[in-house]
Symmetry: C2
Subunit: 251 residues, 2 copies
């Protein structure tokens, strides 16, 4: 039986957007950082895996936020593994601010791949993972399969050096940025993100170029599809906003 | 007479590039973070200034690196103000790794602007700044004026939500990313950045689109110009590389 572990982060100036709130991109980065640190401490982190040429890849993520932290906050992220299956393992997160108030939850699903073949590896390769399971869900629910959508082209991109991480593919944070950039500043002045879901379907690599398609399915509820000419549909996502009082910023 | 102050940072997974080295973008972010924290502690940080609607803007930066830290390093940044003039103040940086070895230096020049008029404010508005001066340079030298260059178009961009910071303009880190992305992965496998210089001439704001022009002036020595249709020439820069042994990464 495992235990939950808590990691505390200062919010850095470049983690916040023009509203002085942590961006969804940076929040995702801090969740992934937490996952990496916890896996390292438990003996199945990237440094350990790379001797076997294995690496972790994020398959699905669901985030549900009451409030995004500001630059003055600290963010505490508690994490645990809920379940280890044959192909996927789930990792959950509970986020609290400096005053100890719970501000959000997240749930994620991961696969292990062999970097030489880019194919998945059975998770019973690491039997010790079972020792770290805490069978407890979160209010964010399981990160479910997101349906396909067409919709209008809301953003486009070409993958360059800065987008590529140590796994040789586009870092998950950049997918989140491409999605976030489908909305203008004015929209963000009156909308906060309430829920975010993402499914990663294919790796995107350097030189690929693509588009983000977006469709509104209900007021403030959007489905997305990221597709590249080279790989086809690489990612599906959903962002649910809530309207907020006008945010006054010095602009 | 002031004193130097040291700030210590863990390198986060998303601060490193595909080579497991801190990117120039992230290194610049950590220098700016250090400047902000030191100014806050000394009573002339952004939080203090915003009551007067003033803010700091980076005018010039010069960075000279012996070695870029890796994900396993910590980065210590010592900072001090070298000089306070009427329109500009200089701030210097000395970087050391976890073992205490000096790995680089930087020098920067800053102006204060009124956010309502976007015009500069005389620095004798804050006489206390003089108390923090340590009149000591660095091997990086002063951040000098960079000459104009034409050259071929090596990158292009459109400014979106994620590029904009709390000052309502494109964050300095994004200029650095646009410059860094003028080179392909293969180039970075055999080249490290030895020196980086940047001059910020005009603010770039949301919706602007532009290009990065690049010209090689000597082997491994490049001049850049960032220009937008809306603002004209907004930035000039220089990157000097040194060739390095082939970097083996899992790709």
């Amino acid at each position: 039986m495992g235990v939950k572990k808590k990691y505390i982060y200062d919010i850095r100036a470049h983690d916040v957007d023009f509203r002085r709130r942590v961006s969804l991109r940076s929040l995702t980065g801090l969740l992934l950082l937490t996952a990496g640190r916890n896996a390292d401490e438990n003996g199945f982190g990237l440094l350990e895996l790379q001797t076997e040429h294995y690496t972790w890849v994020l398959s699905r993520l669901a985030v549900e936020m009451e409030r995004f932290p500001t630059e003055e906050d600290t963010l505490s992220v508690e994490t645990w593994i809920e379940h280890v299956g044959m192909a996927f393992t789930s990792r959950n997160f509970r986020m609290t601010d400096g005053s100890g108030t719970v501000i959000g939850h997240a749930a994620s699903s991961w696969a292990m791949i062999d970097m030489r073949t880019r194919r998945s590896v059975r998770l019973d390769t690491i039997p010790s993972m079972q020792h770290f399971v805490v069978p407890e869900g979160t209010p964010a629910g399981e990160p479910v399969r997101i349906g396909d959508t067409e919709g209008e082209t809301a953003n486009s991109f070409t993958v360059k050096y800065s987008d590529i991480d140590i796994n040789g593919h586009v870092n998950s944070m950049n997918y989140v940025q491409w999605l976030s950039d489908c909305f203008p500043l004015d929209f963000y002045r009156t909308h906060h993100i309430r829920r975010f879901e993402i499914n990663f379907l294919k790796e995107i690599t350097c030189g690929d170029s693509g588009t983000v398609r977006r469709r509104m399915t209900a007021p403030d509820d959007y489905l997305f599809r990221i597709e590249t000419q080279e790989k086809g549909i690489a990612c599906r996502a959903r962002i649910l906003f809530k309207e907020a009082p006008q945010i006054n910023v010095a602009m």
